[in-house]
Every structure is written in C-alpha cells, then in structure tokens.
C-alpha cells in the first residue's frame, strides 16, 4: 500500500493512500466529531453519506470545507480540524440541524443517550440563532417500534441498516428538500410494511426518532396488582450487557445482580429463558435428527433445517420467502416455550389460574415484543407471555425503583424454570444455538459421550460461517448466518438448490442477540458487541452442566409433563406454524 505524508493540525502524519481524513486523524488522537457517520468495524458496517456536515475540516488550497468522513487523504495535504473557520461552520451546521428539531429533550425517550444532545453539549450550543418553520409528521406506533419522525435528522443510518445490512427494505428516504423523511413505502405505518421489528434501526438512531414501545408501565402495574402472580424470564444476552447501563465495562457478566434486582422489583419468581433454551434444544435437536435420519434412509424431507428462535428472522421469511416456510424448524422460540410451560405446567404446580399469572420477559430484542403479541401464542385471548421489555427498559425500571444495582449481592434464579446449562447461555450469540444443538444431537445420534463440548469452529463474528462436524463417522454440515442480508444469501442458495448444509442457524441481528435492538446502545463501537460475546462464552465455561439434555429440571419436565420430545403435548405447546405475509396480488 502506498504511504502518503500530510499535516493535520500542524502534526506530521503518515498514512496509507485511501484513508479518510477522519480515520487518519483518529489514528493520531484527533477526534473529529461526527453525527451521521457510523462505523461498526468488526461487523464491517459503515454509513458515510456525508450528509450532516458536522465533520467538516479545512483543507488548505481547497475552496470549501471538506467532510472528513468521506474525503480521502492525499499526499502533502494540510488539514486544520479546529480553526475558527471550521468551528464556526460546524456550529452553524449543528444549529441549522437543531432549528428543525424539537427541544423537548427533558421528556424525550433518548434523554441522556442522544448523540445530537451530546454534540450540542460538547459544542457549547447555548442559543438557537435560527428560528423558522419546523417539519411535522404524525407519530407511527407499531407493536415494537415507535417512529417520531419530527426528531429525524436524516443521517440515514436506519435506512442503511434496513436496506444494506438487513436487506429488509422497509425504510427509504422519501420526498424532497424540507419535506424529506425516512419512511416506509407510501408513508404507511411500519406495521403495514415488510418491517421485521429486528430493531437495528433503533440500535443506530442517534436521536429519539426511532425508539422501542415502552412496556415498563405495564410491568409496574402488574407488579402492583395483588391478585396477580408475576414471574419473569430473562434472556441470555441480557446478563452480558445490562451492566453497561450502570457504568460497568462492556462484557461484564451481571447474572447474580440481575437476578437480585428482579427479585427486589417484586417478581414472585425469577426465572431464566436459558431454561427454555435448553427445552428448545430438546425439541429442535430432535426435529433435526428426525429429518436427518429420514433423509439418510432416502426419504424426501426438507433439509437443511433452519433454526426458528429469532422472531425477526421468522418475520423476514414470512414476508420475503413465504414459499419456503416448511424449511425452518417448527420449534417455538425460547421466549414462547417458556410462556407456554409457565402458563400450564408451572401454573398448575403453584395452583394459580392462567389469567392470574403474568409472564414478563426481559429481552435484548424488540421483535420479541411483536412475537408475544402473535395470536397463535395465546389461549382464549390470554397471551403466553404478557409483556416483553428490553434490556434498556429493565435498566430504567431498576433505576426508577430506587435499587442501587452496584451494591446488590449475587443471587440465584428460582426453580424449576431457572436452572440452565451452558448450552442455554450461548443462545445469546451468533453460532450459539447450533453449537448447543450439536452438543445434544451428537450424543443422542451416536449414543456416545461428548468429551469436548467446545466447538470453536462454530464461533466467531464472520457473517457467514460453515463447518463440518463429525458425528462418529457421519459428517454433519452446518451453516451459520447473522444479519438478515446474510441469511438471505443462504436462503437464496436453498431456493436455487445450491445449499449443501444439513442445518443452518440464523440470527437477525449482527452478532446475534448480544447485538440486539433492545440492548444498551453501542453508539457505533463494535468492540462492545465483541466483549459481550466473550462474556457469553465465559458464562458457558462456568456452568457445571453444559449440555441441554442433562439439565435435571428439563428431564423432570419431560418425565412429569411432556412425555418425550415431539410428543403430542410437546407439539401442542412448544411448536408453531408460519404464515404467508407477502402481499397478495390479484389482477382483475
């Protein structure tokens, strides 16, 4: 690579040709402020429309100021990143953005975590010099995501996530000039679009334009109702991220404090979605072996089998590949398996009527909000899971309830739905569900004990991974994809008859659930997602039991209640079916 020399703020700088001014400056400790720019390095996601112009710098000899995020360094360039001309321009740019932005920051959902607010603070904006017309749009509330487009600054990060990374295509910039806005087709509401509620638009939105539907008040009301028994389940990825909301470094495991906090919030029983993840492995793993063995006997069966834990992924194929909906496993997600077992097996056990049992889930995910509202997951109008709140909402709930999180002792989950294995924990990261399935499927299929449960070949952050696992002479070919755009590639291969896999794991969010739309905001720092992944594998290593089928409470559940995996009862409670959600077109 060609090396070039330039000057940034009087310092001699050497960099490689093609490097942007922003990156070259960063390497030398100069942080040029950015707003629309987003770079998740480890995930290879970049948004640089050079639209906001906050990152402008002066390049000597150039007539106008240059956007640092999109201007490449050239040999001999002399750059000033903070002289008076640059500072004035940057302030003007920011004030113009603010002139068409509501100033109700105190009551905004993003108060304190808004990148626009932080920037206004850092730039010392104390007065708005530009007063003029403000754009107004109606608010759009879907089952999971709220669009408050008055707060949109047209950074187009959401559009990039929705189209380039996820290839969902729900959002696009529409209209022109002052009227331009990011919206679904025909400016319809999200719930009339192909949106999967993956929440990646929310995860990257710098302002309050995209936020989750907040269910914390529903939870508070349920907890205050003396006629209700309220139980909670918490997903694996939550324990690896919640600490960030309380100032702990990314990747700090807070399982014990999380459990203690939930108990102090007043939940009657504090359970673990990981238990249901173990249950998922029993059902999904059995289904996998079932299809595999029939395939080996020469029967025509749908292979590869695709995992079905991720609700955004389910929404995705229902909308975009409805003709392939016999391929994914029929196993419900762990959230819904938990709800179904809680409202039958557990409700009977504690002698509480279904309608008096409230099941709350804490999820790293926004699509889970939609999933628990699906009609097929309710009995006589009573949902299996009543409310799903995100990791961020739980942090708010803890703060509102006067709980000093940092001083909490480590506590354990309750039984019987709180015991889990290392296999359940790794559901929180890309590669984890299939690794958990392999740990159980190997032993069931071969009848041999698996000595080393660490399948390192299934781990990592590469978007599409593949590995062949030796099932005692039988090679099992496994594919993994995270990010819906990558899932689309594998799905298209299946459609074209080019896929050679037996099983494929898919998670909608980059990184898997650890990078979910309900997690603490990463603000463009992908090392946070990597740290969470490390924490998940650490939790797995620390578990006494690491294979789902060895979970004693799972064994008991089958003995006393379900019979065996894929039994009629298991089928009724733990499996589902999928719908064609593509648009019907009839021609007259």
């Amino acid at each position: 690579m060609e090396t070039i020399k330039l000057k940034i703020d009087g310092k001699d700088v050497t960099t490689t040709k093609g490097t942007t001014i922003l990156k070259a400056a960063k390497e030398f400790g100069i942080q040029i402020p950015t707003l629309c720019y987003l770079h998740l390095e480890d995930l290879n996601i970049e948004n640089k429309p050079a639209g906001c112009r906050v990152c402008v710098v002066e390049v000597e000899g150039r007539r106008n100021l240059a956007p640092a995020c999109a201007t490449e360094c050239t040999d001999g360039m002399v750059i000033n990143t903070h002289n008076i001309r640059v500072l004035n321009a940057r302030k003007t740019v920011l004030e113009l953005i603010l002139s068409d932005h509501p100033t109700d920051c105190l009551v905004c959902a993003k108060n304190g975590i808004c990148e626009l607010q932080t920037m206004a603070q850092e730039m010392g904006i104390r007065e708005l010099h530009y007063q003029g017309e403000q754009s107004h749009y109606r608010e759009d509330t879907s089952p999971a995501i709220i669009r408050d487009v008055d707060k949109c600054i047209m950074c187009r990060r959401c559009e990039m996530m929705c189209n380039e990374v996820q290839t969902v295509g729900a959002l696009s910039a529409v209209n022109r000039g002052f009227m331009s806005v990011v919206a679904p087709a025909f400016e319809m509401n999200l719930d009339h679009s192909v949106c999967t509620y993956c929440g990646q638009c929310v995860a990257v939105c710098p302002t309050g334009a995209l936020t989750e539907v907040d269910h914390t008040n529903n939870v508070i009301r349920a907890l205050a109702d003396p006629t209700k028994t309220v139980i909670v389940q918490t997903a694996p990825a939550v324990r690896a991220a919640l600490g960030e909301e309380f100032g702990l470094p990314a990747g700090t495991l807070v399982t014990g404090k999380l459990t203690a906090a939930l108990r102090r919030l007043g939940f009657n029983y504090v359970f673990d979605t990981d238990f249901a993840a173990d249950l998922t492995i029993m059902e999904e793993g059995t289904e996998l072996l079932n299809r595999l063995n029939r395939h080996l006997k020469g029967e025509k069966v749908a292979l590869p089998i695709l995992t079905s834990c991720c609700p955004a992924w389910v929404n995705f194929f229902e909308h975009q590949f409805p003709d392939m909906r016999d391929i994914p496993s029929t196993a419900r997600s762990p959230q819904q398996m938990f709800g179904a077992i809680a409202k039958t097996y557990f409700a009977d056990k504690i002698q509480v009527k279904r309608e008096n049992l409230v099941v709350v889930s804490v999820m790293p995910c926004l699509a889970k909000k939609y999933e628990c509202q699906r009609e097929e997951f309710a009995t006589d109008g009573n949902p299996d899971v009543d409310f799903s709140i995100s990791t961020r909402e739980l942090a708010h709930l803890i703060k509102q309830s006067n709980i000093d999180f940092m001083s909490l002792p480590d506590e354990d989950f309750d039984n019987p739905l709180g015991e889990s294995t290392g296999a359940g924990v790794i559901f929180g990261t890309t590669g984890g569900v299939i690794e958990a399935a392999v740990r159980t499927a190997y032993e069931v299929q071969t009848g041999k004990k698996l000595e080393n449960v660490d399948f390192k070949e299934l781990r990592g952050m590469e978007y599409i991974r593949e590995a062949t696992i030796d099932f005692d002479g039988l090679p099992i070919r496994i594919g993994i994809a995270h990010g819906l755009g990558n899932a689309r590639e594998l799905l298209q291969d299946i459609k074209d008859g080019k896929s050679h896999f037996h099983a494929i794991e898919i998670m909608a969010c980059p990184g898997g659930c650890i990078g979910g739309g309900g997690q603490p905001l990463h603000h463009g720092d992908s090392s946070i997602i990597k740290a969470r992944q490390k924490a998940i594998y650490e939790e797995d290593r620390n578990k006494a039991i690491r294979k789902s089928h060895e979970n004693p409470y799972i064994i008991e559940l089958y003995e006393k209640f379900l019979g065996k995996p894929m039994s009629d009862k298991a089928h009724h409670l733990l499996h589902t079916h999928y719908f064609d959600k593509s648009k019907e077109i009839t021609v007259e």
């Binding site: 295509g169 696009s172 529409v174 209209n175 679904p184 087709a185 192909v194 077109i585």
Partner: protein
C-alpha cells in the same frame, strides 16, 4: 394487502417494459417514466409490481417516485396542463398565469378537475425561455402566455 384492479393488458405491457430494461434495478427511473406513460400516473399497485420485477423494495421505488416532481401518484386529467416555473418564465409572470388557471378550473396545483378533464402542475424549464412564460397542455406548447389568454387556451379543449 394491495388488491390490484388494473387492466390485465396494461399490466402485461408494464411487465414488458421492465423486461425491455432487462429487469435492471439501475433502470428504475426509465421504467417509471414508461409506466407513467402507460397508466397516466403511478398508483401504489404499479409501484409494487415494478419493485417485484426489478427485485428492489417498494419503499425504494416510492422514494424515487416521491422525489421527482415529474412522477405522480394521482391520475392526471385528460388534458394535463403544466406551467413552467423556471427562472425566465417566473420573472415574466408565470405565477399570475397559474393563479388564472386555478381560478378558472377551481383546483390547486397537483389536482385534477372533478370531470377528469384538466389537471394542473408546475415544472421547471422546458428549454423554451425565449417564449416565456410557457404553458404546456398535453404535448402542445403555448408561448408568451398572459393571464388574460388563459381562458382562450381552455376553450380549445371544451
């Protein structure tokens, strides 16, 4: 769920247009241009078909349709009237000409008369600045239009 109630023959024509551009997503604007020629406007259903044929999202198609003022989602009148608002036409009184059309037709810019006969729109520069202000009715160009000439133009079509 969109229910399409467009004539099947026109629909085939639309699919042929897409095919003539090799169903290439980069040709979206050209496809939309031809589609508007077939239907007179670009209703949601037409955009959905184009999205499917070119393998792009409907949101993206709508993004392009809503960006360019040439594209319309409302059916145009039998005689679409376009008034040039380019710099030359504007300084020579195009705005007064618009006002006169609005008064006579009792519609706003972007609307169509109740009988479906006329629709009113604005455009920027047709490249006939020497004739400013310029008005187009269908394909026919009228130059040096004064407000008191508006009535006469409309009478040609009634």
């Amino acid at each position: 769920m969109a229910t399409i109630t467009l004539p099947a023959s026109k629909l085939d024509q639309l699919k042929d247009v897409c095919k003539s551009f090799n169903n290439d997503k980069k040709e979206l604007i050209n496809v939309l241009h031809k589609a508007q020629g077939i239907f007179g406007y670009l209703p949601a259903e037409v955009q959905e078909i184009i999205a499917r044929e070119l393998n792009i999202s409907v949101a993206h198609v709508y993004g392009v349709v809503s960006f360019y003022s040439f594209f319309t989602m409302l059916p145009k009148g039998e005689h679409p009237i376009s008034i040039c608002l380019g710099t030359a036409c504007y300084v020579r009184g195009a705005e007064k000409v618009i006002d006169e059309f609005k008064k006579h037709l009792q519609i706003k810019v972007g609307e169509t008369t109740a009988d479906g006969k006329f629709s009113l729109s604005c455009l920027r520069c047709v490249g006939a600045c020497g004739l400013a202000p310029v008005v187009l009715v269908g394909e026919k160009v009228y130059g040096r239009v004064a407000p008191d000439g508006v009535k006469k133009i409309l009478e040609e079509y009634t």
